[in-house]
Amino acid sequence: MQFLSRYGRTDWFGPLLVTILAAIIVGSLSPSFLSAFNIQVLLLAVAINALVAYSQMIIIAIGEMNLSVGAIGGLAAISFAGMMQVWHMPILPAALLGILIGLLGGIINGVIISLTGISAFVITLASLSIYKGINLGITEAQPFYGIPNLVKHLGNAPFLGPLPWLIIPTAIVGFGLWLMLTRLPIGRCILAVGGNRHAAELSGISIRLTVIVAHALSGAIAALAGILLCARLQIGQPTIGDDWLILSFAAPVIGGAVLTGGHVSVGATTLGVVIVAIITEALVLFNIDPFLVQVVLGVLILWAVGINRLREFRLKPLRRA
C-alpha cells in the first residue's frame, strides 16, 4: 500500500499503469496489435505527436498557452518541402531552415507577449492566423510533392526492428527537455516563472527572457514536428498542423501538467502521447468510426484533469507538516 501511495504521487505512475493496461487489453483482443508492423506504425505516430505535445508543454510550464503550435508546424513543413522542390535545396539545410522558421515564429510570439504584457492566448491566436495565412499564401492550398526519396524513406522505415528513424530526433528532444527542466538553470527558471512569476522576478530571474526562450523552444519543436510529419506523409501538405491543438494540450495534461504553470513532466507527457496513440490505434483495429477519436480524446482530457485534481487534494493535508 505504501508503495502505491508513494508512486501514486509521481506524475508518470498513473499514465504508465494506463499504458500497460491499454496495451494488454487491446493486445489480447486483437493479437495483430502487438505485431512488429503495428508497433512501428504506433511509434511513428508517437514520434510526431510527442514533439507536438512537447512544444505545448514548454509553454504550459511558464503558465501560458500557445495556440499557434499547429500553424508554426505547418509553415515549417511546407517551407521544408517547398525549398526542396522549388529551390532544389539539399535535405539538411532545408530542414535546418525549416526549424529556424519555427524558432523565429516562436521568438516573435515570445517577444510580443513579453513586451506588451498581453496574454499569450490572444497573441498566439493572432499569430496562428498570420502563420496559417502565410502558409496558404505560399502554397495556394496545393501540396508540394517534390520530396526526395531519402526523406520519404527516413520518414517511414525502421532502423532497427520496429524502431523507426523518426523516433531518434524525438528521443533526443525529449531527453534534452528532461535534462533542461530538471538540471539546467534555464529550465528551472522556466518552471519558476510558471510556479510564481512574481517571486521569480524578485529573485532576479528575467521574466522577459525566460518567456522568449520558452516560446522560441516551442516554435522550434513545433517546426521539427511539422518537418517529421512532412517526411512521414511524403508530401508537403498545407493542412499539416491543423489538428494538433487538442492533442498538444491533452498529452501534457494526461501527464499531470498544471495549466497555471510551474509543473510539467516530460516522461508523463510522452506516456500521455502513447496512451492517445494506443486508443487511436485500437479504434482503427476494431473498425470503429475514426471520428470517435475526438470524443475519446475529450473524455480522456476530462478524466486526466479529474485525476490531477484528486491528487492535488490528497497532497493538501501535507501542507502543514
Partner: protein, 505 residues
Amino acid sequence: MAEFLFEALGISKSFPGVMALQDVSLQMREASIHALLGENGAGKSTLIKIITGIHRPDAGELRLAGTPIELTSPRDAMAKRIGVVHQERNLIPRFSVGENIYLEQLAGRPLKPLRYPELYRQSRKWLDLLDLDVDPATPVSRLSVAKMQLVEIAKALALDSRVLLLDEPTASLTPHETVTLFKVLKRLRDDGVSMLFVSHKLEEVGELCDQVTVLRDGRNAAHSQPLQGLGRQDLVQLMIGRKEQIADWPARNFAAATPALALKGVSTILGHRDIDLTVKRGEILGLYGLVGAGRTELAKCIIGQFAVTEGSVEIQGKAVKIASVADAIHRHGIGYVSEDRKAEGLILMHSVLANAGITVWRNLGHHGLPLTDGRIRSRIEPFVRRLEVRTPSLAQLVGNLSGGNQQKISVAKWLAAGVKVLIVDEPSVGIDIKTKAYLHELLRELSDTGTAVLVITSDMPEMITLADRIAVMNDYRIEGTITNTRDYEEMSSRIMSLIHRVEAA
C-alpha cells in the same frame, strides 16, 4: 570608508494619482540594525522597492559606501549585495527548499548544470544558522507558513548580503521563532551587516534596533535617529502624528444577549479542530492570531466556502448547515468583508453601484422585475451615504477610489444585504488613520444596532479598540477567550501569553 554603508537621500516617487514618497532620506550604518516604521500606506514598501531596484525613484539618490549607485532591476541590487526579505511570499511552491534558497544564483548562470547534492549541502549551512530543521530537498509547499518565512530569510542570507532589508519578517513567526531569528540578526550585525528592519511590533523594534527612521504619509517623520531614548509612545506619536488612542468606549455587557453565531466543537476540512466560539447579538468579538493561525480560513468555513466536518454551527440559536456562500448570505444573513479587498472583496473595474449592489441583485430580482439602476440605487444609496463614501457619483469605478473609500464600499454592500452577522477580516489594511478611526466607530455603531461582528485583525491596538471579547487562535485552534479591558499593556501581554503557552508546551 564612508560613515554610512547605505544611504537613500531625498527620494521621491509618485504613481499615477498618488505621491508615494516625498523627499525621504535614510542612512544606514555598517554593523547596525535600522528600524523603518510607519503605518500601512506610509510608503515603507515603496522605499524598499526602490532600494532593491524594483522601482526607480523620480528624484533623489542612492549611495553605497558613499558612491552614488543606479539600480535598474532586482539583479542590480543583488549584484551590489543588497538582499531583501519581501513581505509577500517569494518562493516557488513546487521547488525544494535548497533550490529556492539558491534561486538568485541559478538565474545568473542559465546553462550551468545543477548539482542537487551540492546545492543541498550548501543550503544546509543557512538552515542551520536559522536553527531550521528541514531537509533541503523538501518542496516548499509542504512547509508551514512560519517555516516558509524562515526559508525566505535563508534565501536572503545566502546572497551574502552587506545590506539586508527585512520587511515584516516576524509577521508569521511564533515568539520562539522570533527569538531565534533575533539571535541570528544580532550575530549578522556583529559580522558587519547593515540591516533595515520593518515591523509593526514596536516591542520588537525596541529590543532589536539601533536607529530608526519613521515615515508618515510618504515623508520622513524621523530620519535615522538613534533609537535610544525613544519609548513606545514616542514612536507611535511619530508614526501617526498624535498620541495613540485606544478609544475609551464604555464596556458593554452581553450576559443577557442571545448568541447570533455559535460554533460548538467545530472541525473543518482546512484543519481547524474543536473550535468553540460565540458571538452574541450586538457584540464585537475579536479573533486574534499570527499570520497563518487559521483565522481567515475559519471565516471562509463559516461562510460555507469550505466544509465544516464536525461539530455544529448555530445561527440565532438554531443549528444550521451552511452549504455555500450564497446560502450564508441569503438564508443565514452572514456577510464577509475580505482582507484582500482588491482580489476578493471588490470588482475594481465595475462601478460603485455594481459593487455595492451585488448582494441585493438576487433579492431584487425575486419578483421577476428587471434590475434597473434606479431600484438598486434606492436600496444601496442610504448605506453609501451613511458610510460617507467619497465618490463623485455611484457610476464611478471603484478602482479609482482611495483605499478607505473602497473599504467603506465593501462594508456597505453587506449593510445593504441586511446581514445579522458580519465577519470583517483585517478591516484597516491600507487605509489611513482617520478613515480607520471612522471605520472603527462605524463597526461599533453597527454592533449597537444588534449586528454581531467578528473582527479578524493582526493589529493589536485595533483589536483592543474594537473588541468586546478577544478569542486567540493559534495553529487552527482557539487557545482561549478573554474579556477586553481596553488596557493595552495588560491585554497585549495576556494575548501573547496565550500564544506563548502553546509554544512552551
